[in-house]
Assembly symmetry: C2
Homo-oligomer: 292 residues x 2
């Protein structure tokens, strides 16, 4: 079967089958909207946050909350501090109802697995993980952004925290060679920044600050950031690109080697580096060519 046909067939089958799950899932004599709210309230939440998370109209949400309040499942009270914002909390009955919803959802997930042999179960679960991972990978977006912006600073602080933990002897930004100017690329998943990378505009340009959030690893985001930075370098007319890395970052070295970087003698005095790499760029070639 051809690829596109395969995807369409998957969509049909899965929406039908999972749709059936969702139908039962919501079948608590309560509209779907109300169930979704009940689910999302979880711990006490601001109405404002709820609205953002479920992207509901304020009037609509208000009415849904009135319904749930009427059923004695939630309480809505003016928040502490700002008394315009109101806080929703589950009552005991609400928590019980939410637990029922949870159990029901478990049951229905189990109903997918029940008719299968153990081997088939393993296959299905593995394949589901792969599909989920790759569908998620597909919606990661890369943008060149201001390195001083919120998203960039957020990524950098998580990056520095991580390497401070992983490097032998920790990491202090002031000691490392800086990324001061050049291109800064941020990867986002559903708006949330989940990775970054920089191309420092020295001659030849250097890759710096490559990082992918732990929860987004395995999606090929690092490879895409690298390819994007290389593209910028090629556009700027560069023939060579360089980078250095620490010995504990095994996964990064693996990425660089498989992307065609070769190890060279140290070309700078980066105190946190153990390996130095270089790659000769051919115009029109990149690590992960986009397809037509």
């Amino acid at each position: 079967m051809e690829e596109v046909e395969r995807v369409r067939s998957f969509n049909r089958t899965v929406t039908e089958r999972v749709g059936a799950l969702m139908d039962s899932y919501l079948d608590f004599g309560r509209p779907l909207g109300a169930s979704r709210v009940l689910w999302e309230v979880g711990a006490a939440t601001d109405v404002r946050d709820l609205r953002a998370r479920l992207s509901l109209d304020s009037g609509y949400l208000s009415r849904l909350l009135r319904t749930l309040e009427g059923e004695g499942l939630v309480t809505v009270e003016a928040g502490t501090g700002d008394r315009r914002r109101r806080t929703v909390a589950l009552t005991a009955a609400g928590r019980a109802e939410r637990a029922r919803l949870d159990a029901r959802s478990d049951d229905l997930a189990r109903s997918f697995l029940a008719p299968l042999s153990e081997r088939q179960t393993r296959q299905l679960v593995d394949a589901m993980a792969t599909v989920e991972r790759l569908l998620t990978a597909g919606i990661v977006e890369l943008t060149a952004e201001d390195p001083a912006g919120d998203a960039a600073r957020h990524c950098l602080s998580r990056y520095f925290a991580e390497i401070d933990e992983r490097f032998d002897g920790g990491f202090r930004e002031a000691v490392a060679l800086p990324f001061d100017s050049g291109v800064f690329v941020v990867a986002r998943l559903r708006g949330e920044p989940i990775g970054c990378g920089a191309l420092k505009d020295v001659t030849p340009p250097e890759i710096k600050r490559m990082w992918v959030a732990p929860e987004a690893r395995g999606l090929g985001v690092g490879r895409r950031i690298l390819a994007e930075l290389e593209r910028h370098a090629v556009e700027a007319g560069t023939a060579t690109i360089r980078l250095e890395t620490n010995r504990v970052l095994a996964e990064a070295q693996q990425l660089y080697r498989s992307a065609g970087y070769v190890e060279v003698e140290p070309f700078n005095a980066e105190p946190y580096a153990h390996y130095w790499f270089t790659k000769t760029l051919k115009p029109g070639t990149s690590t992960n060519p986009s397809r037509s």
Copy 2:
């Protein structure tokens, strides 16, 4: 991640992602119901069939057809023969609209694949095929039915037609040893019979008429039918079960061998058989134990 949690996570991610596809898919300024009808009409169809396929209320479907008729996309005419039944057909405009729908659906399937590398595309497509196959396998139902019933006769006629084509020298039912009485199991997928198998009540009992529709192969249906027949044999207190098969049915032999059947000398005069198998049943054991 635990299996059930994995399935739930898959459901969330996929419904969100594929749901987005469906939203655009239906976004033709036309309600979803109308699009679904437009899609299903395809070649000319009885209104009655359409209703069954989409499981719509007759009044509702009637109204949807009026809408499409108003847009000049379909024609509804009294059928030939029975003039109560009406026949729906696409007009030229309707076919064009359907082609647009089709192209749009292709585009959106492609949008899933576009950001992925070739290797990732292959992985995704493979994993989707696996998920689809195993989710479908999960809704196959086995029931013991009257061997003279519609479903059984339907399976048997397809079975005989298939082996008539595959056997060297064809197959004639009158020449073969009969299945006259015993248990007849039918496998159904969404109500459609897609496989069968029989347990002839001789001593020891014999497996006969094992068949799975080509479109349902690879779902483990044969194995389940076999296990079900063995279960019946065990319940009837039998220690041994026998069967014979033709040399061209390689996949069947593979199934029998992997299910613990061992080849023995011919025990009957079945003219279409080349191999004879037997298996000793242990109470409480089956080929594909159901899980708690």
